[in-house]
């Protein structure tokens, strides 16, 4: 295009504009707004969980006398501490099963050619492409048929269905970044194929494996739809479901609900804080180097 060239004056004016936009005040303002939108509901919830029921209804900002009574009502009186235990058990079991199945599957898809290998892989991904809600009704029927309604097993199976394709995909991408010559060197050096995986490939993919594990745990922990479908029973329901059950009450105990929600968030927050390096690796799909 033969448009008129910028004059030096125009160029400088634009340059000043960009410099102003890029200044740290502007950058910090944008960051502040972003963080505010993300964090303020959490803060509001945290603050609410320390209030008395009266303070909530009075629409106060900060609790006049902070109290842990709401936590006691949610966890002890209603027995939702059991939902926390359920959540830990379900998320852990789901994660172990998904990683045990997904890691070798990802390895196979990254290394071996077999009939219809691409078709099988696309099919695995395809199962995650339509909205899970479409499967809730048939899943409910299946769970009922096998007597798994209101059981932890029923929720674990749902989690495996939901997160296994994702982990196969993530792990396959990690394995692809590891040169095949590494497996081959190990086999020439004296390993069987299984030993090559055990002693060379797996240790190299370990950061990726950690990322997959953490993501699966987080996703299983926060899963709501299938957990709610399978169980609203104290023996097996998860903490996100327990939190939601407050909604059905006549005269909602907002403080207790906020307390339950905070309890639901804490493990995730801890995992994110301590393992953020692996989460970034897992979401961006790259081992270092």
């Amino acid at each position: 295009m033969a448009g008129p060239a910028f004059t030096v004056e125009q160029y400088r004016r634009r340059q000043r504009l960009w410099n102003a936009l890029e200044s740290r005040y502007v950058v910090h303002l944008v960051l502040f707004l972003a963080v505010f939108f993300i964090v303020s509901p959490l803060i509001w919830q945290l603050v609410t969980s320390f209030k008395t029921q009266q303070a909530v209804l009075d629409l106060t900002y900060l609790p006049a006398e902070p109290t842990l009574a709401a936590y006691e009502r949610a966890l002890i009186d209603r027995g939702f501490w059991r939902a926390v235990v359920n959540s830990v058990l379900i998320a852990s079991a789901s994660t172990v099963i998904v990683m045990i199945l997904g890691t070798p599957a990802g390895y196979v898809f990254s290394r071996f050619r077999f009939p219809f290998d691409n078709a099988v892989f696309v099919f695995v991904l395809f199962t995650r492409l339509f909205p899970p809600i479409g499967l809730v009704t048939p899943y409910y029927r299946i769970v009922t048929t096998f007597g798994l309604l209101n059981t932890k097993t029923g929720i674990v199976i749902a989690n495996v269905y939901l997160w296994l394709p994702l982990v196969i995909y993530i792990m396959r991408n990690f394995f692809i970044t590891i040169p095949q010559a590494l497996d081959e060197a190990a086999r020439v050096d004296g390993c069987t194929k299984v030993q090559a995986f055990r002693y060379v490939v797996f240790p190299v993919v370990l950061p990726g494996f950690a990322a997959g594990t953490i993501l699966t745990f987080l996703y299983s922990w926060r899963e709501f739809l299938f957990a709610f479908t399978v169980s609203t029973d104290l023996n097996s329901m998860t903490i996100p479901v327990a939190t939601f059950l407050f909604v059905g009450d006549a005269g909602i105990d907002w403080a207790a609900m906020a307390a339950a929600a905070i309890v639901a968030v804490i493990p995730s927050a801890l995992v994110v804080i301590f393992f953020q390096r692996y989460i970034v690796v897992g979401l961006t799909g790259g081992l270092k180097g």
Binding site: P179, A181, L182, E184, A185, A186, R187, V188, D189, G190, C191, T192, Q195, Y199, V200, P203, V204, L206, G289
Partner: protein
Amino acid sequence: MSDTDHPTTNAAASTVDEERVLSLQLDGITKEYTEDDGSTVVAVDDVSLDVYEGEFIVLVGPSGCGKTTTLRIVAGLEQPTYGSLRIDGEDVAGREPRERDIAMVFQNYALYPHKTVRGNIAFPLKIRKYPDDEIEQRVQDTADLLGIGELLDRHPADLSGGQQQRVALGRAIVRDPAVFLFDEPLSNLDAKLRIQMRTELNKLHDRVGRTSVYVTHDQVEAMTLSDRVVVMNNGSVQQVAPPKTVYQRPANRFVAGFIGEPPMNFFPVTTAPEGDRLRVDADGFSLVVPPAVADTVAAWDGDTERLDLGLRPEAFEDAALVERELADGETFSAHVAVVEPMGPNTDLALRPIDRADDEAAEFTARVANETDAAPGETITLAVETKEIHLFDPRTGENLLA
């Protein structure tokens, strides 16, 4: 002509010959792949090769010629479609790499990034459950041999390319296998380091003295490292011979064109007897070649009237710099297009005298650096007629090999 023709050396060589033990036998190795569209690609086509104990064999050829696939078949990383393979006399068909008593150095080194240098070198011994003190001793000896004793506790990521290369070598030699396999081990190094490592590989082979099969696309590596060169093209073996023979008597036109830098010049020619000599007429010049060559051509079973003439750039000289008397059939004139001084000698891009504007007719001559040749001028060339090559234009076979 040279020291190698000395009678005593020959006698010594032949006694060694009788004692030579076969280390590796490839017999009719063929590898076919089925493409996604169902068609079959022949990557390795009926390769047969005997490698003797302690020999350094280099497989060389352009990319896609099947040399790496051949090596991987020897390693057991690929299975041949047909053919048999013996290592130390034993048929190894269907055996895993770990059951073949081989070691391999990979192009990208394939060091284990999560292990230290010590862990890398020790790994082949550890997985085979050698006793700890022997592992310790062998790793130390290997590291000393390669001059990497200082690096044992570092990780591969902290090493330079040359150091990584040495560790990869160490991991291969620590177990003292029957056969070493090298898959383009120097191609990831920069030019200077490559030459240095080449020399070191040569020394290492002299010391370790194990059977080695080395794959490269670099003809200089092939010439300098090998006892015998295997030139491959399109999956099949073109010639198996010591490096000098491959250079001086290439079996066919492909080998002639592939080995040698700058590459050999080819001219379509007609031939006719001239007394006891042979007259060779190309488009733009004529040569008269000695009786020995004429006899060989006369004995050739086939049409010798139309042939392809091959002249290496080194077979030319600036006639002005030749001291001896030059006969008529040994010289011709050419148009100088480009002059490239290389230091010890000068490369000339030349065109036949009557086709000074035809870039397609260009050929290369390597002459002494004292030449006065200048672009746009004419030069009289002297040709070493003993060093000519004549190829059957249909089969590419070298009549004089």
